[in-house]
Amino acid sequence: MRTLLFLLRKEFKQIFRNKSLLPMIFAMPLIQLVVMPLAADYEIKNINISIVDHDRSPYSQQLISKITASGYFVLADFGDSFDAAFQQIEEEKSDLILEIPAGFERNLVRDKREKLFIAVNAINGTKANLGGAYLNQIIQNYNAEVRLEWINPARFNTIPQVEVASSNWFNPFMNYRFFMVPGILAFLVTMVAAYMSALNIVKEKEVGTIEQINVTPIKKYQFILGKLIPFWIIGVVIFSIGLFFVSRILYGIVPIGSVFLLYGFLAIYLVALLGLGLLISTYSDTQQQAMSVAFFIMMIFLLMSGLFTPIDSMPEWAQIVAYSNPLTYFIEVMRMVMLKGSGFLDIARHLLVMIGFAIFFNTWAVLNYHKST
């Protein structure tokens, strides 16, 4: 016990004395948490649209003003030549073309139907998809309005119409940040825990001080605890700053569920991730090696955790990877507890899985950590 205290004292002194590491541990994750949610936003605005209007009628005017008034589109070009509009797409000045054919109004009034043409620049798939969908929706609305104008009120009931009314639960304004902030916070805590602990242990190997430790009567578990406890504490501190300051004050996200539950899960999650860091360190001899391995794992963690893309839409093999990723569970729990107010029973399965991860990584790491070779 006394040995552990000496180890901890040494570790904290070293961490707080390291002028290059300290900002990396504290400032970097928080800056990321402030900046990333502002950028990682799937709600696409400012889609540049070129409209080719061959009709120039009140009806086409009405449609165009409906599109530009929606707030999603910026009218990049307006003309009557499709080729000129296509030129805009080629020059990346425009994302979509809407072509309104000549006789749009006439056909609509006479034949009660008309076709519009939308061409989408699909290089940026997300933007193209969403842009196309938004535009479609606007046109549908327009269609409904036009129809309503024409319907004789007396005959109102004869046309059956299904209308869908939807309501967004748990995030009523579909604020993307509510969805991203808890996830990004989870990821940042992961980075600090796994990365820093791995690097710290390998540094002792690289400098050679671990030899000196290994000839002392320090027990394996004491050394490991001496390394993991400081980073566990740092992980909790960063999480708290992120939760109470950045997420609450800056983004106004107040967890609906129990904060204690979040901390309970975090405590186990950190043990699992520190175990992973320790494991990486036992397989690396230099900080460079550890960094490369940790970077590789972090990329997989980040991209296959459901942070940016829904897991349900991944191919089956990728879903298996995603559910072998501890971060997936933490992000789910964060979102469930913070946005939905899930309770202990709702996350009990996640908790069990995480305890499994913690035991798995730590056992493996401890078995692979040798005081002698």
Binding site: F6, K13, Q212, V215, S372
Partner: protein, 247 residues
């Protein structure tokens, strides 16, 4: 009858096909300064690492301070000190913090740590520097500090792996004063070196060539046996047959 503190029996370490240390058998007596000589790559460091419990032997055995290196490695660790070739105190801790840390992990009480660190700082003349980071000290001082820290818990044996490499002659002399002082306190010194003048300071010397122990005797007897005027000549005579390329 002299007390034996290190006793090895055909101690061997192989790395794949390469036999780093080939069945060495020897004894070291309590309180002596035992010089462990050999060219680079002769297997000295490997042998020393096995004796310290840092490396597990491929075959053979050894007892250190009466404890078996296989079964009682942790008990050995409480009874030995080790100073590796690579400087291995914490450069980002101060002199006093390093002393306290190692004193603490060797289980000294707060009072002992306090006394020890005062004594050490006095002895090494580091009063002004005690609050400086170890990384900022000159090499010679670092080495003296590392040695003092390695024996902070008054071990039975201290293993020194080329402790004076790269150190100026004056500091080297001071370093040996420290070694003698420790030896007078009854600590057995097990030291490797490439300086033949240092070899003369040892009570007994062993010579490693290609992983084998080729000679073991007092410096005087060795010179007599090989009909040499100095330890330098003894070294050349023995190391000449080496097949291994020095690194």
């Amino acid at each position: 009858m002299k007390n034996v503190v290190i006793k090895t029996d055909k101690l061997t370490k192989k790395f794949g096909d390469f036999i780093a240390t080939d069945a060495i058998t020897f004894e070291v007596y309590e309180g002596e300064i035992f010089g462990f000589l050999g060219a680079n790559g002769a297997g000295k460091t490997t042998a020393m690492r096995m004796l310290c419990g840092l490396s597990i032997p491929t075959s053979g055995g050894a007892t250190i301070a009466g404890f078996d290196i296989y079964k009682e490695a942790e008990k050995i660790k409480a009874n030995i000190g080790y100073m590796s070739q690579k400087f291995s105190l914490y450069e980002d801790l101060t002199v006093i913090e390093n002393i306290r840390f190692f004193g603490g992990v060797y289980g000294l009480s707060d009072k002992e740590i306090k006394e020890k660190s005062d004594d050490l700082i006095d002895l090494l003349g580091l009063k002004e520097e005690s609050k400086k980071l170890v990384g900022s000290l000159p090499l010679g001082w670092k080495q003296k500090l590392a040695f003092s820290v390695a024996i902070i818990h008054d071990p039975k044996i201290v293993f020194l792996d080329e402790p004076t490499g790269g150190v100026d002659p004056v500091t080297r002399r001071q370093f040996w004063d420290l070694i003698y002082e420790a030896s007078n306190r009854g600590i057995t010194i097990f030291v490797t070196t490439h300086y033949m003048d240092e070899a003369e300071y040892c009570n007994r010397i062993s010579m490693m060539v290609d992983g084998e122990m080729k000679a073991l005797d007092t410096p005087t007897n060795l010179k007599k046996t090989y009909n040499a005027a100095s330890m330098d000549e003894v070294f050349f005579e023995l190391a000449r047959g080496a097949k291994r390329q020095a690194d």
